[in-house]
Symmetry: C2
């Protein structure tokens, strides 16, 4: 019952896969398509929950993996659950830790039973099973929780990717059986790498199990962008229309516009907040680096007409100065801007879908926007490789 | 005229040197004794000006030295002055750069004409004179500005300290002659190291010149605390009663209580914000380090009954977790707490003076407070030495 009422599809587009809907959760309803900022450790980096709320965000992602290692699941539970611990009144989604274990943790050993790994913090050894991951996510108390999955790397052989997919399926079933609370929506994760036949198998297998939502995992880890988008399009088309579709770890404004066009409802990524801390601010024309000397005496904000607190209050020159002087306030102000940009982008996307003008919106977006594809790819690839290096 | 109305002494204590007054400036009146948080680069580290205001702070210190090197005085002037540049509507005090040149900058050469030094940022060579420093502070537009002084190091010979003092006097006269705006109060800086006779000479010389206020410089740079307090007491007693007295670079809650008792009206220090970023939170009982495991599951705030946003919103456990996870939000929340503590401490000190209960307040403070003298001394000494090392 709870699962059936979790997602309401409101509108679909005649000329693309784009759709508008609503996620109903204990901690509020959230209109889709939606972008979730990432607060791995129970904090969106540099911001208070009040600031995240004021930006207009109503849903945040946290990582069970990070919280399991620090401060420990029991601590969060003793403190009244994750909402209370981080003082966040909106909706929460916790990732299971699958992606983190396979990208961050060194010395992994996977068996059907579960996965053994070492903490990337102190090297201590840990063993997680689908059942334990469910137990932890129940204790954290997020509104949406994820199955434990095995994430192969880009470049792994079809056999290896298939094996990981099959295990992900068996683990998904065990997670489903271990679900305890009907106020938490459990999402499955479709794997299968860049192989269309495996993605099809995975989508069909998991759809038959009837989850509250479906994520597409294992993308944006170094594969060419055309491949990402092709896999997203093919996989989304195989997922049930009445369930939310979540593209994990994506992404940039341009990738989100294209993901929406292919039928995705939820996105999450550290990209907007991470690049903000590097001084890259989103604008309708693409990213601008605030460290650039062109901003040193500019009174106007970087993103003309932006309504965020940063752009309404401070000149580009001041922001430029804060970054040059390595003042932490700069990281905050840039983060606020990029998240406001994402929230505003999602609002405009949703309005366009509801008004049946998404095609024109998308054309207009691309007419103005200069993507930084190569930089983004490289950034994501390096991030992934950095985690993998610790294997050896 | 402007100088005469800058400070109004309201009340003195019969049993100590403590006094309550008011500084009247274009950007607001500020009750004294007052503590100024430091925003060297035009930003109180980690905080927005709105947060500093909400904490109850109405006056902030910025450094002409830092702003001269980056973004450059002309940039701030072009952007409409420092108040506008940093979006701070309250009062501002700029330090002249004397202390910074003599503690941060390598390769100094001092002559009567001025001081040549290399930037601690990029090694570029600069030459500052009293006249130029005045011109820069006029352009920045702070409500209170400081003369250029020469700061000897603790341990320098009486001859060397005397020479620096004499030069400081000559420079003070030149600064006074170069003063352009009557909406800026110019303060002189009493030097003389730890030598009572030199301090007396300096106080008498500068008092005769009739400045709007008098600072005591060159203390808290490694000398024993008893010596600091003795010099403060002796020097304050030599300064005119109707002018504000400013103890530069002090300090900790305990040093401020003792400074007030010796007749000081203004204080500034990076200590409360710097130790906050190290996880040290002020309480009525002394400092507590939030990284301590004792806080890992504590629901109560570190400082019971504190009314700051941090203590009203988050548990000690969450703050502990943020510091352990190296989340920048932790630095912000700790900074907010320590500045709120300082603001509240100054409020209580002022009330006690006005109510003629300062003696009881001071007794009560010391009955509860465990100072961290050694740690503080060491911290200040190391900070000073770190700057001096660059000499060679």
């Amino acid at each position: 019952m709870a699962e059936q009422s979790h997602f309401h599809l409101r509108q679909t587009c005649p000329d693309s896969g784009a759709r508008a809907g609503e996620l109903r959760m204990v901690h509020g309803s959230v209109a889709t398509p939606v972008f979730l900022p990432v607060g791995s450790h129970g904090a969106v980096k540099t911001l208070t929950p009040g600031e995240v709320w004021d930006i207009g965000m109503r849903m945040v992602l946290a990582n069970a993996y990070h919280l399991y290692l620090r401060p420990g699941i029991e601590t969060v539970a003793v403190m009244g659950g994750l909402h209370k611990f981080m003082d966040w009144g909106g909706a929460l989604l916790t990732d299971s830790g699958g992606y983190q274990i396979f990208s961050l943790a060194p010395l992994r050993r996977v068996s059907d039973q579960g996965v053994t790994f070492r903490s990337h913090i102190d090297g201590s050894q840990h063993f997680l099973t689908p059942e334990r991951v469910m137990q932890y996510q129940v204790a954290l108390g997020a509104d949406i929780i994820m199955v434990l999955d095995e994430c192969p790397a880009y470049g792994d052989s079809p056999e290896k990717v298939r094996e990981a997919m099959m295990r992900t399926h068996r683990w998904a079933e065990r997670c489903q059986q271990a679900q305890e609370r009907d106020d938490q929506a459990l999402y499955a994760i479709v794997q299968g790498g860049v192989f269309p036949d495996l993605r099809r198998q995975s989508a069909e297998y998991l759809t038959a199990l009837d989850f509250a939502g479906y994520a597409i995992g294992g993308l944006s880890i170094g594969e060419p962008k055309e491949k990402t988008l092709a896999i997203v399009e093919e996989t989304a088309a195989l997922l049930p229309e009445d369930k939310p579709r979540y593209l994990m770890g994506v992404g940039s404004p341009e990738d989100i516009v294209e993901g929406v066009a292919r039928g995705i409802d939820l996105f999450d990524s550290t990209l907007p907040t991470r690049v903000a801390r590097n001084g890259a601010l989103f604008t309708g024309q693409g990213r601008r680096n605030i460290r650039n000397a062109a901003f040193s005496r500019m009174e106007q904000p970087v993103d003309h007409g932006c309504g965020c607190v940063t752009c309404r209050t401070f000149s580009s020159a001041y922001l430029h100065h804060l970054f040059k002087s390595e003042e932490l306030l700069g990281l905050r102000l840039a983060t606020i801007h990029n998240l406001y940009f994402m929230r505003s982008l999602m609002d405009r996307i949703r309005s366009a879908i509801v008004d049946s003008t998404f095609r024109a919106f998308r054309d207009d977006f691309w007419a103005n926007y200069q993507p930084t594809d190569e930089a983004t790819r490289l950034d994501q690839k390096q991030k992934w490789l950095k985690g993998r290096e610790k294997d050896f």
